[in-house]
Point group: C2
Chain length 156, copies 2
Amino acid sequence: MDRIDTAILKLLAADARAPVSQVAAAVGLSQSACTRRIQALEANRLLRGYGARLDHRRLGFRVTALVDITLGTQVEEDLAQFEAAVGKIDGVVECALVSGGQDYRLKILCRDLDDYERLHREHLGRLPGVVTINSSFVLREVPTRGEGDALFGGPR
Amino acid sequence: MDRIDTAILKLLAADARAPVSQVAAAVGLSQSACTRRIQALEANRLLRGYGARLDHRRLGFRVTALVDITLGTQVEEDLAQFEAAVGKIDGVVECALVSGGQDYRLKILCRDLDDYERLHREHLGRLPGVVTINSSFVLREVPTRGEGDALFGGPR
DNA sequence: TTTCCTTGGGAACGCCGATGCGCATGGGAA
DNA sequence: TTCCCATGCGCATCGGCGTTCCCAAGGAAA
């Protein structure tokens, strides 16, 4: 991991389908050297894959819910059971156990509020060990620096 | 947007660098037809781009902070000012205005707690209009269904 | 029925990415 | 200092992939 690797990751984070030749030119390497770097990054699992950026709203998913869930237990087995159940719910795109009270924070994508109500009733409410569920809805997404900038610094 | 388009988006969401020929075969189309579909999806902005999935931990960013910030104002101009300032902070990868009190929820990536303390002191604390800052730290990320499954349903 | 428009399939062309080889550089040991 | 090995790059090649033509088929409207 040197400056060149970080530059490659930054470029790929911004546009994963950019031609290797273009990335190579941007970082001052030949195509072959750049290809080998990328292969090494993938092998080392620093690069875990590539994904498409979808426009949820245009696809008809206009509701993003941020949900805080507290559990009535702290036993690891109960947490694992909860997590296994959460992992199977369609619409849950993120879930993390966080500090400050034993609770989870989820991000959920839904078509509309009715859809969320259904998901809340059929799935969230039936999760094992849940004590409280607190839902917030995203009113506006604020554009931020990309992941690449966050990790490796923005324009200097 | 029909069943084939959703299938294409789902596949690309899972692996954006999958060969078009492979995607085409999976959805039962020829390469050329599949390419045109993808181009149309990009033109319609349903597909906004492609990004690399980076492993933050392996890259040395072991702290993910989820930060709730409440503002002392609801005037749109103040919100805009706050948002503009937030958008320039390295490390902030997500920021959303949410319902339930006039507050923002951010996701921030840092190398360690010292790094977060610095960011908190130098940037978060100086954001305009801030009344309270509440930080939680991710202890464990729970594997969830991918974005594609969330939007288009998981395995039936 | 005729025409137009949409959408898919086939084939060719050009480009891109992967691999092997040779070479340069740098660090370690004798 | 000298030799050696490891690391990493560049060049060239080859196979494969993606893009883009063109044409055909099906459906809707006039």
